[in-house]
Amino acid sequence: MTDRILITGAGVVSAIGCGMAQTLDALLNNRSGVGPLVYLKTEHKEFPVGEVKMSDEGMRKHLNINDKEITTRTALMGMIALDEALKDAKITPEMIPNIGFISGTTVGGMDMSEQYYLDYVNNENHKEYIAVHDCGSCSEMTANHFGKFAFITTLSTACSSAANAIILGANMLRCGEADIVVVGGSECITKFHLNGFNSLMILDTQWCRPFDATRAGLNLGEGAAYLVLETEESAKKRGVKAQAILSGYGNACDAFHQTASSPDGEGAYRAMKEALQLADIQPDKIDYINAHGTGTPNNDLSESQAMKRLFGDKVPPMSSTKQFTGHTTSASGSIEAVFCILALQNGFVPVNLNWSQPIEDGVVPVHQPHKKELKHILCNAFGFGGNDSSLLISKPEL
């Protein structure tokens, strides 16, 4: 790869905390944010979830947004993460008109639409929320809180949306379309997809167990994370340092089934392989894989096969962090990319919590605290429809 893509800032909010510091503390101390449902209004209290520990009102207060402003939970979480990312990268308001914003979401304003749908159909109540149902509105509400970005677009590839936003951002920098782009994703839990996942029978009523023989489904989570991607030249000019390098990325389609992964993990295999090829790095240089690892029987087996195809019998230390946050769906690609940056900077592999028995023919995850220097990390995010992406995040000084 010719031009280095620098990550010069990051911001995150999820069930394990608001901001990079709380997130690191939770990861290092194996503190999960998954628990009984508190904020979402649903009949399905039986499912543990990884909610961000704030009500919409709490987030409004936190962001200093008045009651009258139309917004959605996904946009609010997006603003919290974006605020931290911009500050972290020392981006000032007057720089924003020259910066692009690329976000991933699938639910968009569904949290409001599912509450008010019958009103939309039958009467005039809550009609002000109709215009913010779509995904693009969600990105714009998030971005507009900080200024007028040079361009805004939205990726919607289900659970790999944020990872694909990161890939687009990198390609834009490499084409000279911008010097700085802010990329990532945001997604709140909605009744819509909680029920959708439930109808597909892929939710576990217990704490999820990725890569465990007894795994029985996923726990939903929510959150947002954004990364600031920047060219080397721009960072040098501004005097900001790279926290990590996006040294490779791959996107491939499993092209197998609408909601299930192929038995041989074809899409996942291709995405990871492409990321390595772009970075021109051999598989044995990978120090850690942050797996997609949702905890569904299907995903973890398919992803295990993909890892074994690429790495043979030398699969690097691997873990899923979904037990910490729940599956943050569209935001998972950027939230977990932030986890990878923290792991690189602090020299540890996040523990695959709640694990006890290996999957037959699967890969054994890192289930004990594991301190070591990391140089190259693969971060996987796979979506419904076989939209599989993998990011390769590396230490700035090798």
Partner: protein, 334 residues
């Protein structure tokens, strides 16, 4: 700045409120009096088996048909990437699921509608049909959803990551959803007609039978007039394809701005034929490509009748924006 590779439009196919999968609208446009109309569908049995089709919403069937036709017309066996833009995704299935959720509660929901309700269902079902493992993403960003997909394809073509891409723009509209959007002030202004969009185009390196060339593309969010003028200076063409839609106040501002930016270039329109939706700009792209290929611009596309000319167009600029928020400029050459 990297050197710009030449990018060609190899094929472009549509299903819309005009005759499907053909260019009859050039000589015999269908005119509508009422604001809500659904697309004219072709027979889908040539593209999808009846068993598969039974479970699919209209948006998916149309995407498969236009994609297969576009691939066939491109002369390529396969493409390196499938990139889709859709403002609302599979809204009919979303509506069914929301309706059941709201009326019947949370205990008896079937997975059928949910499985085909996400935005990326479209791109992935096309990939499954074509057995395509290449790059596959979906953009959902209002009136620039198709434009975002096109931009992605162009970036990767320029980087040499891919040599061809199937770019789609797909939105469907149900009567219930149309009425909701109207209530939300997003549709149904004055003479505005809504139109479902299903457009598939193949872009890549030149072939024998290409439609036109894409010279440049730019997307902007809430640009200042100064920035727009700087950009317009780089996107010069004799013909400007605008997205005026029949919304009087908005059209007035649109035309005034286009005149300020592009001087006496001739303004064209297409939404009076194809209608308005989040991905109608995909139909605009299709219209521009077909006009360049045909070497003529049908008289009914001119905003101002005194501009009508039978001059062969050499370049068309697609000037797309929605409510002055998201702009895109696409410069196409014969």
């Amino acid at each position: 700045m990297m050197e710009k590779k030449e990018i060609y439009v190899l094929s472009a196919k549509q299903i819309s409120v005009q005759q499907p999968l053909c260019e009859d609208w050039m000589s015999q446009p269908i005119e509508y009096q009422q604001p809500f109309n659904r697309s004219i569908d072709p027979s889908f049995k040539d593209y999808i088996s009846p068993i598969e089709a039974r479970r699919m919403g209209k948006i998916l069937k149309r995407a498969i048909a236009t994609s297969k036709e576009a691939l066939k017309a491109s002369g390529l066996e396969t493409v390196d990437a499938i990139i889709t833009g859709t403002g609302y995704g599979c809204i009919e299935n979303t509506e069914f699921f929301l309706d059941a959720l709201s009326k019947d509660g949370e205990q008896m929901l079937s997975p059928t509608y949910f499985m085909q309700s996400t935005h990326n269902t479209i791109s992935s079902i096309v990939a499954i049909q074509m057995k395509n493992h290449g790059y596959n993403v979906t953009y959902a960003h209002k009136g620039t959803s198709f434009d975002s997909a096109l931009q992605d394809a162009m970036l990767q073509l320029r980087l040499g990551k891919i040599s061809s891409a199937l770019v789609g723009g797909h939105d469907e509209m149900t009567e219930t959803f149309y009425n909701i959007l109207k209530k939300g002030g997003m549709m149904g202004h004055d003479d505005e007609m809504c139109g479902e969009a299903a457009v598939s185009v193949v872009v890549g390196a030149r072939n024998d039978d290409y439609l036109c060339k894409i010279l440049d593309f730019k997307m902007l969010h809430k640009p200042t007039m100064e920035r727009l003028k700087a950009m317009a200076a780089k996107f010069k063409a004799d013909f400007i394809l605008t997205g005026i839609s029949g919304d009087h106040k908005s059209d007035e501002a649109y035309i005034a701005e286009a005149k300020e930016l592009f001087g006496d270039a001739k303004l064209l329109k297409y939404k009076h034929l194809f209608g308005e939706s989040f991905t109608s700009s995909g139909l605009g792209f299709y219209v521009a490509a077909q006009c360049l290929k045909a070497g003529k611009i049908p008289t009914h596309l001119f905003v101002n009748p005194k501009d009508i000319t039978d001059k062969k167009p050499s370049m068309i600029l697609i000037f797309n924006h929605s409510d002055g928020t998201n702009y895109s400029l696409t410069l196409m050459e014969a």
